[in-house]
């Protein structure tokens, strides 16, 4: 049977829809590949043509949610906000879209977003990271960031570390409506914006003077 790209896209979408339902209803751990395939009305083997693991499915869902969050972010941005507020809005619109998947964010952090992730899944993770950091870079550039001569890899790495930390915190946040996450995110981003605005003075290199 010839599989057109249309059917392919349609099957992929059915699998994702099945994952959305089952992961949310039963939890990530408790859901099996077999159940996912049944829910999507395909053979388990076929599912592997699309996603090589349950984790890859989780990553795809998170990616999808974050893409939608990014669109929300663009729509909500009014202009004139301070950098820390824009960064906050960027993260929080993503979290909002992720709300239903809070239970599987931990898995995604451990697999795709871990610095030790294996290649297949880490490619998705790298894409996800890139898409997120592009916005961050754009926001920083827009803010002028006059005091920070260049947004180098260290700056972005620092940001990414904070971001993953906040995500990890959020995935386990037991406070009512995860209100503590809002505080942690706010403080993290303020600290980051502050670090950008007041870069450490250059340290004098070794042996420059006698």
């Amino acid at each position: 049977m010839r599989v057109t790209s249309d059917t392919k896209r349609e099957t992929r979408e059915r699998i994702l829809a099945a994952a959305r339902r089952l992961f949310v209803a039963r939890g990530f751990e408790a859901t099996t590949i077999r159940e996912l395939a049944a829910e999507a009305r395909i053979a388990a083997g076929t599912l592997f043509n699309y996603f090589d693991s349950k984790e890859a499915l989780a990553v795809a869902l998170v990616e999808e949610a974050l893409d939608a969050g990014r669109a929300d972010f663009r729509a909500k941005l009014r202009g004139g906000e301070e950098l820390s507020e824009e960064l906050f809005l960027h993260v929080v619109t993503g979290l909002r879209r992720l709300e239903a998947y809070r239970g599987l964010v931990g898995t995604v952090l451990e697999t795709a977003l871990s610095p030790f992730a294996h290649s297949g899944i880490s490619q998705r993770g790298a894409d996800l990271r890139l898409a997120h950091l592009e916005v961050v870079e754009e926001l920083i550039a827009k803010a002028g960031a006059t005091a920070a001569p260049s947004v180098g890899p260290v700056t972005l790495h620092l940001y990414w570390t904070l971001y993953l930390g906040v995500m990890a915190f959020w995935s386990g946040d037991e406070s009512p409506q995860q209100e503590d996450t809002l505080g942690v995110l706010d403080e993290s981003l303020r600290v980051f914006a502050l670090a950008l605005a007041n870069p450490a003075p250059p340290t004098s290199g070794p042996a420059t003077r006698s």
């Binding site: 906000e81 906050f88 409506q177 209100e179 503590d180 809002l182 505080g183 706010d186 303020r190 600290v191």
Partner: protein
């Protein structure tokens, strides 16, 4: 206005002769802080000032407790100090979230007797230092609390706060029905943080036995804790607002804001917005004597009505909480730290009223019961003389009969402050919370009247309100 760290440190209570380990710890923390550059960023500064006022609050506690240890067994003393060290550690860590510790500072600042004036001034400034929540944070927080974002909930909602609150900030908004609101919003998570910190603190403080008058310190901590726990719960503030509004409904010239329950939660309080001038702003317009008398009279009438008829103590009499509205009415704000007296507490108050009416032995009895004195303490003539002087000061404005009492007299306020201070430094009273609330309330209202240089028929008002309440 920026508080300089050096000023704050300079205004710490004096070292006691014999440094304790807790004091050494405090000294170390302070030295560490002093050696750091004063941060300039808005966020950063607020954060470290929060931490610093924690240290100052701790310093106050150390001194307070240390003084009470005199004559204690060495072993009891060590146990107490260990507890104190643990309490210090908690206080020190409380700076990680703004607001909480500033609030402790503010409360301490309301005890001019306990801390030098300079410290009081500096601490009083701190509550204007809270950094703002930006709209993205606020919108998300409101959505969590009320299920929708401000623009969906209100006809309009101003993104910038128009006033700071100790635990958050206040925004202007308009409802779909056209009501103009002040929406007070707490920083997310801060309420729970304060609750748990203070729970820990009072668990630590509870078993400390201090000096000859026993549980003074634990009572003070419990008092601070109770105040704070009330203030973090905007639902409790909403209930007080509603009670007060109802109780004062007959007073046409006094306004307590209406609460909008559908738009309020424990962390968000939507109220009718009062438009006018805060007391200090109003005084800056140089109102004539007759106006100052009128507002002072309304203030005495309203707070007296709440006190005697509603058994409600308006907790935080402070120029920022009094407004003169555009139409000349008196507006009362901030019912966060109200106290509703229970039966036992009310008994102590009516006993005080009986003492005032009958004088002599009855007044002595009221003072000794009210201050929870032992038979031996009540027999101490020095102590009794002092407490009677305090009672005389307390009732002085009422004792002038039908005449107006002139609150502009600085001597009256100074004597009050001195007595207020000595009560605590001599440890003449066991501080039943009712005394603390009562003293803070009454002293606060009188200071406000003094600021206004108001002449008020306090005796007539009090007698009428007592009669109205059937006391």
């Amino acid at each position: 206005m920026e508080a300089r760290i050096a000023d704050l440190i300079a205004s710490l209570p004096e070292e006691l002769e014999e440094p304790t380990s807790a004091q050494a710890e405090l000294a170390r923390i302070l030295a560490d802080l002093a050696s750091r550059p004063v941060p300039t960023g808005r966020v950063h500064r607020a954060w470290s000032l929060g931490t610093l006022s924690a240290k100052i609050a701790a310093g106050w506690m150390v001194t307070h407790v240390r003084g009470a240890f005199a004559g204690e067994e060495e072993r009891t003393r060590r146990t107490n100090e260990q507890r104190l060290r643990a309490a210090l550690a908690i206080l020190g860590s409380m700076g990680y979230m703004r607001g909480a510790v500033m609030k402790v500072g503010q409360i301490l600042a309301n005890y001019p007797d306990l801390v030098p004036e300079q410290l009081t001034n500096t601490l009083a400034m701190l509550h204007f230092e809270a950094p703002p929540m930006h709209y993205a944070l606020l919108g998300e927080h409101v959505r969590h609390e009320l299920g929708a974002e401000p623009e969906e909930l209100f006809e309009s909602f101003e993104r910038e706060a128009f006033a700071a609150a100790s635990l958050g900030q206040v925004h202007r908004a308009r409802t779909r029905d056209g009501d103009e609101l002040a929406v007070k919003i707490q920083y997310p998570g801060i309420g729970r943080t304060i609750e748990s910190d203070f729970k820990n603190l009072s668990i630590l403080a509870a078993p400390m036995r201090l000096g000859p008058d026993g549980d003074n310190f634990a009572a003070q901590i419990a008092y601070v804790r109770d105040m704070l726990l009330l203030e973090v719960d905007y639902e409790s503030e909403a209930r007080f607002l509603e009670r007060a509004r109802e109780a004062l409904s007959e007073l046409e010239d006094v306004v307590v804001p209406r609460v909008f329950r559908d738009l309020s939660t424990r962390r968000i309080l939507s109220m009718e917005r009062l438009e006018g001038l805060h007391l200090t702003e109003w005084l800056a317009t140089n109102p004539p004597q007759s106006e100052r008398d009128r507002i002072g009279t309304l203030l005495n009438r309203a707070t007296g009505r709440l006190f005697f008829s509603e058994r409600l103590c308006w907790g935080d009499p402070h120029p920022g909480n009094v407004m003169v509205l555009e139409d000349g009415r008196l507006g009362l704000l901030d019912f966060g730290s109200c106290r509703s007296f229970d039966g036992h507490e009310w008994g102590l108050i009516t006993l005080g009223v009986d003492g005032y009416r009958e004088g002599g032995a009855k007044l002595r009895e009221a003072m000794s019961v009210g201050c929870d004195l032992s038979a031996e303490q009540a027999a101490d003539p020095e102590r009794m003389k002092f407490l009677m002087a305090y009672a005389a000061w307390y009732w002085e404005p009422m004792a002038v009969g039908d005449e107006a009492f002139d609150f502009s007299d600085p001597d009256y306020i100074q004597r009050g402050m001195q007595l207020f201070g000595e009560t605590s430094s001599r440890r003449y009273t066991r501080s039943h919370p009712v005394n603390l609330y009562n003293a803070r309330f009454l002293y606060g209202v009188r200071v406000l009247c003094h600021l206004m240089k108001a002449r008020v028929h306090a005796g007539t008002i009090t007698h009428e309100e007592l009669e109205r309440a059937g006391i």
